[in-house]
Symmetry: C2
Subunit: 340 residues, 2 copies
DNA sequence: TTGTAGGCGTTATCAT
DNA sequence: ATGATAACGCCTACAA
């Protein structure tokens, strides 16, 4: 059962390949109903499917999009990937998932490869890194894509101007801080992701802003930095607990950090939310299954991924150029208490 | 900055495109050191990269592999995807992640698309479904691929003969049951994934076998079925607790189910492991961050994914035909107690 | 050691 | 309404 081409179809239907192409692509060019039916029938019989390599060689774009993730085993990117791949599938297009393992060099390399593949569009899953050399190189790549009509959409701030579908990270940092303050907390610690990522930076900025707004003192000792992992959250929480500070509430830059912190608190004999309230950002599916269930901000990762695909597939330049911010809302569960 | 082709390179270097191709692909065909250097230099200057669509049209395979997952937001598939994509990247090839959302029709559709893309190999991430129509269709696709020299590797049992990299699911089901029995448990419940998936079926078989081996009675009421989600585990645990049965230990077909069960037990005021011991299969990264940390079997998903890619990329037919079983080992943590 | 030419499977332009 | 033909960019006999 070898591969069959248009030629096979044409031959069997007794028409030219041109005609086959025409019925297949539903072009304006007129084709008699009779031949159309005949060709369709043969296509069915032979189970013919056009070869995509040939198509994209001829046209100059592909029916492929790419999603760049930092760690696809992290449910954060997983949820995003689900939104992207499932939406792409609706358009009949396939998705390259490019996992960088948080290595900027890998990311640049991926862009070279994607360029070679002439992918139709690229979705940047992770937030930008504030490293000058990396940013310059990345921007170069972005421009090359754009100049050739490929579309790029980011799902997190990159530190330079481009099209995006995001949440308001700073605003969300404010939101969670405000939530604790509104419940009587005045000593609030913070576990942040890496400060060279814009996402983590912006969220922490929101926290700082919120304290200032409420005339609460800001203290560097109340902040611990880590990567975005469970382990990182666990370690950061321990660092905070080892410092000579007191806090009744803690904001975590994302759910993973909160999960790690939860374990640290438990080990130290601190009850959540009785002794310390925990709030974070993410609302990943398992936030419902921590002990206690986590109060956290829902980030519509699936919808963001889906939207990015829609933008890439849309011919509407206006929509493309629109920068989109998704609203965030707190999912109230049981990790925050009211103190009086 | 338009796309540049071999022709551009050839022209600028003052040679034919054949020569360019030869230096690029390092063929046996002799090329003088001088021209080689000259061509290389121009390639650098122009930053030329071969067009992959053209390459794969000419050759009859691609530098693309595909991974079929059921739910990419589930860390189980996430970890697998990480192994696959990162290993693929080492070979300089890209990975389509095809998420079926557990819909068999989607899976079949994906195979059509992958066929059109002439992907070099396909990795079946999820276990087979025991549905006759689906199995027949799938096998048809598999044969088409094979007949055309594409490679297919499965990471879970499919219910028919094919190349695979797996764990021994039945053996692992036995392993966890044995573990509880060895610690004095004689009333052991079981939460299983869907019975029409071979993976879940085999694991449960292992449990049954193990009971028989130890002359322990088997009781249908001790089994609850669900999907493989947190929610499913939560619900299944509640169902078991509502029945008129007693158990001191419970085996969960996978980590997600265990996480859900943990929450159900907590809500019902049952302490783990004091009142009920929990063991499962998976050892996903967050098994360390449940309360209490989960005793569970490590399934080397990353390594399995990596191995599958190596097999696909290998020219060694022998290795290809070898069916590979990875060993599983229990990660002992704190969710199982010894009862006397 | 280098180059010429044909073809991979499409689509699009131009005739008929 | 239909068809011949030239690309798209690359690889590879076959010639020179």
């Amino acid at each position: 059962m070898a591969r069959i081409s248009m030629e096979d179809v044409a031959e069997r239907a007794g028409v030219s390949i041109t005609t086959v192409s025409r019925v297949l692509n539903n072009t304006n060019h007129p084709v008699s109903e009779k031949t159309r039916k005949k060709v369709m029938k043969v296509i069915q019989e032979l189970d013919y499917k056009p070869d995509i390599s040939a198509q994209s060689l001829r046209q100059s774009f592909n029916n492929i999009i790419a999603l760049i993730t930092r760690d696809i085993s992290d449910p954060y990117f997983g949820e995003m990937a689900r939104g992207v791949t499932e939406t792409a599938n609706k358009y009949g297009i396939l998705t390259f998932v490019c996992n960088t393992g948080r290595n900027p060099e890998n990311e640049i390399q991926y862009h070279e490869l994607l360029w070679q593949h002439r992918v139709r569009g690229i979705i940047l899953g992770g937030g930008g890194l504030n490293l000058e050399a990396y940013k310059i190189k990345l921007q170069e790549q972005m421009n090359r894509y754009k100049d050739n009509g490929h579309k790029i959409v980011s799902l997190a701030p990159q530190g330079f101007d481009m099209d995006y579908v995001m949440i308001d990270n700073r605003g969300t940092g404010e939101l969670i801080t405000d939530y604790l303050i509104a419940r009587g907390h005045t000593s609030i610690a913070y576990i942040s992701g890496p400060q060279n990522t814009y996402t983590a930076f912006d969220r922490l900025e929101g926290y700082k802003l919120c304290l200032k707004k409420h005339n609460l003192p800001y203290d560097d000792l109340m902040i611990a930095y880590s990567d975005n992992s469970w382990k990182g959250g666990y370690e950061a929480a321990n660092i905070l607990l080892d410092r000579s500070i007191k806090f009744t509430g803690i904001c975590c830059g994302n759910d993973n950090l909160a999960v790690g912190a939860l374990r640290a608190f438990k080990e130290r004999g601190l009850a959540v939310p009785e002794d310390v309230s925990v709030i974070s950002i993410g609302d990943l599916p398992n936030a419902n299954y921590t002990a206690p269930p986590l109060t956290t901000v829902r980030v519509p990762l699936y919808e963001m991924g889906a939207k990015a695909v829609n933008i890439i597939m849309s011919d509407d330049t206006q929509e493309y150029n629109a920068n989109i911010i998704f609203k965030t809302v707190i999912s109230e569960r049981q990790s925050v208490s009211n103190i009086k």
